[in-house]
Amino acid sequence: MGETIQIVVTVNGRRRALDVEPTATLLDLLRDDLGLTGSKACCLVGECGACTVRLNGRIVDSCLVLAAEVDGGEVMTIEGLAPDGRLTALQERFLDHGAVQCGYCTPGQLMAATDLLARIPHPTVAEVEEGLAGNLCRCGCYVQITEAVLAAAEGER
């Protein structure tokens, strides 16, 4: 087998033409082909959210998307959130609130929280919990993460 598929995909604003294996996931493509290792490879079954990226305007677990499926699509990863190195308000609030311990879950949490605030600019605590239900934090920073998201929303008011 080993027959590759040609795809064109825009990642963090840059168009890329790539040859991908049928078995490669979007996560493999990002990490191994493009060196974008901010998206983490963790559970690989869609439970932890460490691999969360935005695909065509919606967040997805990139471990559950084949690279071939994203042909023609647009992907944004954590590296695309602050391309010029200036952190977003949400990222700043994660830092002030101690919402980052080991940091392994943080890229996924930030992608999910950015998506949540775009959909619901002023969420309730329950809405934050629901919006981040697909992102596990084994350091247990849930309280601080929720506070950081609420503070970012407050700042926008």
Binding site: M1, E3, I5, P22, T23, T25, L44, V45, G46, E47, G49, T52, R58, I59, V60, D61, C63, L64, V65, L66, A68, E69, D71, A112, D115, L116, E130, G131, A133, G134, N135, L136
Partner: protein
Amino acid sequence: MHRFVYERPEALADAVELFARHGAAARPLAGGTDLIIGLRDGSARPAVVVDLKRIAELPPTIEEQGSWLRISATVVMSDLLADARIRHEFPALAEAAAAVGSVQIRNRATVAGNICNASPAADTAPPLLVYGAVVVAVSDAGTRRIPLTDFFVRSGVTTLRSDEFVTAIELPRPSAPLGAVHLRRTRRRGHDLASVTLSCAIDRDGVTRLAYGSVGPRPILVVDESGRLADRGASDTVKEAILDRLFSAASPSPRSMRASPEYRLAMLRVLGRRAVRVALVRLDGGVQDG
């Protein structure tokens, strides 16, 4: 990951041809939230994976066809939740879709895939059963419309033939408002399959339709035509006796790691009573959380 050939037909006829040629060796790919896990852990070993998302005839839309709504096979849970017709006319389906996985999963997982995977715990199966859904499947031999009540066989097995795949799920739009609700018991929100799922829809004539899952090899639809379950004056004892009879086909597996059969059967009755109560309030136009 298990190796396979990836196909992305752009016309329905090409997809039909692929399934006619490969039969059981081909697997349709819609959201991939079950299939890709299976490909990785070796529980799914297709020679060919057919991506349905580029087929021109299967855009991710929910269309009105006379008195029916047609949910295309590529419609994801988030699309259902965003659709006002689904939320207003089929609230139990919207509630079930909202309970699936997480935002990331709901952005990818399709309703058709949820049904085809045929998990006894499939969240959307009970509401689709109470609303009288029909599965539309296509093959070389033409199109078949399969009532959902004739679709599930057991976990992972449906009455689809190996050369067929699902193109849509159709729902008859209720002529008068129903009172409906979807309830679920799970160990953990966001990441776990349900331990018990139950949907209830009551119409103006007092006919109560209940469908339940996760308590046997397949989701089951039962109907109380007597009107007594929906009778606001009937005593709890009478209603409980009716529910006991309706739930007699429940046979939870003793080997499940999620919950014991005793727990599931007890919760089924609790959810049954609660669902009838909530559905009646909603039938009267009231707002009541599930």
